[in-house]
Symmetry: C2
Subunit: 324 residues, 2 copies
Amino acid sequence: MNTDLIDKPYVVGIDIGGQTTKMGIVDMRGQVLSQTVIRTDTHTDVDPYIEDVAEALDKIIKESGSEDKIRGIGIGAPNANYYTGTIENAVNISWGGSRTIPFAEMLSARTGGLKVALTNDANAAAVGEMTYGAARGMKNFIMITLGTGVGSGIVINGEVVYGHDGFAGELGHTCAVRNNGRLCNCGKTGCLETYCSATGVARTAREWLTLSDEPSVLRSLDSISSKDVYEAAKEGDKLALKIFGFTGKMLGQSFADFVAFSAPEAIVLFGGLARAKEYLYQPIMDSMNANLLPLWRDRIKIVFSQLKESDAAILGASALAWEL
Amino acid sequence: MNTDLIDKPYVVGIDIGGQTTKMGIVDMRGQVLSQTVIRTDTHTDVDPYIEDVAEALDKIIKESGSEDKIRGIGIGAPNANYYTGTIENAVNISWGGSRTIPFAEMLSARTGGLKVALTNDANAAAVGEMTYGAARGMKNFIMITLGTGVGSGIVINGEVVYGHDGFAGELGHTCAVRNNGRLCNCGKTGCLETYCSATGVARTAREWLTLSDEPSVLRSLDSISSKDVYEAAKEGDKLALKIFGFTGKMLGQSFADFVAFSAPEAIVLFGGLARAKEYLYQPIMDSMNANLLPLWRDRIKIVFSQLKESDAAILGASALAWEL
């Protein structure tokens, strides 16, 4: 262990979401010593937001007794560019749209020169899983986050793929349905995330309820979320089970193409929808294997995240800081 | 320049194909000093084949006066595993099927201990293009070879992606048509290479001639190759032009998904079919941009190989040897 790790045995992880910002102090074994949450969406300007972040950080640093022991800060944020430390055109963040914000530099200045690394939340999750979770020891894997959208973080030879411009790994926007696909928030149609995100699952439910008159407990609900579909599946609701079968099939088809790209050891699933693993695992496996070249059939693992969900976003972001 | 490059300023490049094996002595600037060709398909056993290769090599090494000046040997071959130096289950090679051959080790033993690196031909082409060709200076690009099949070599951060098992980069077998797609040699249906290889273009021509009675000079031919379609397009044949438009559209759709994976600076096209660049470029660009996320639109280059075609296979393979 180098002296730096003895002097500075802690890192800060910050997960910036559209509504809230979670942050915590993390040690080398992935223990979250202290954490807090502030609102993201109460600011339209980034400067007072950074003030709030810095104040909240000061508080948890004191709480955990880690003054002068922080090695650096890792941030997971939408539209974050790892190369430049900027957040670019983050339309889902109240202070982020139509501008390029030198976020890493600004936060570093406000925290007495702490080093700051930032990337998008799926890449952060991949680093977190490699550092503390299901991908420990793996050098080649693909992290897929199944949340409101479908995000991805690709690890090749032990390193996250950032690409030429810093924005590599947008697998949620690869094409799952070429013709007459669902309209995506990105403006394209047929993107994987329109079918296989939490939102996509709810969309499938609403679509199928309209297209058939198959009985389902989902019919009694005013609005349907992916959680409702999961609860229905647990009760044995046939339509809900079919929806997960369909979602898993679509994921597996796309995963087969991802494998053809980087030949990973495993695909790691994370995020709210990944909780439905008992209904997703087998359909994903069957469909992925049916679409893989023979050389990869039955050889690629599907693994579910092992990080505690309440800590995962902070852990993922914090893991970036160990590499500073 | 290190002393090794002064003492050993040459490398050997060997391109193993199903019918012939090309080999040459190459200098640092990509000049082929001496080259020769032997048959691959006259052997059913690998030992006498390696004898033939070694004898032919001896001859061109003497011819070029490069005795004791060879730094190493690079080989491009089907089903070649970079990590292990083996050729595995190469069904298209007369001595290669249903076995794992420690080819690098065998050739090294037969050439007095020269170091040998081997990979598949598309990866070799990618290294060649990065070392001597259109991708010089690029750290992130995807090489697509449009030949009998569609091959690919992916470069991220200046390094070829081999993946967990050594076989990454099979983009010709990603799905281009999900339902009712053409049957592929690999056993799957709808693979990109069933549409966009030289064979795929000929297949499109035969299919379209049957499905319509549109006049075309192609109707007078007994059998149709992609070269015939190219010649017809050059004469202004409308059906032939439409075939290239369709091929380019399919390529562009798939390229958009590849970009979402690794955010490359460029996609580099190589191989016999890439000669039809005047008919492929615009359809590829239009379709790729229509399918890209806004952040990449009009920002990804499509580049055609700059290597002299007669030398390209040898150059690509030889480039591997500089990294030994």
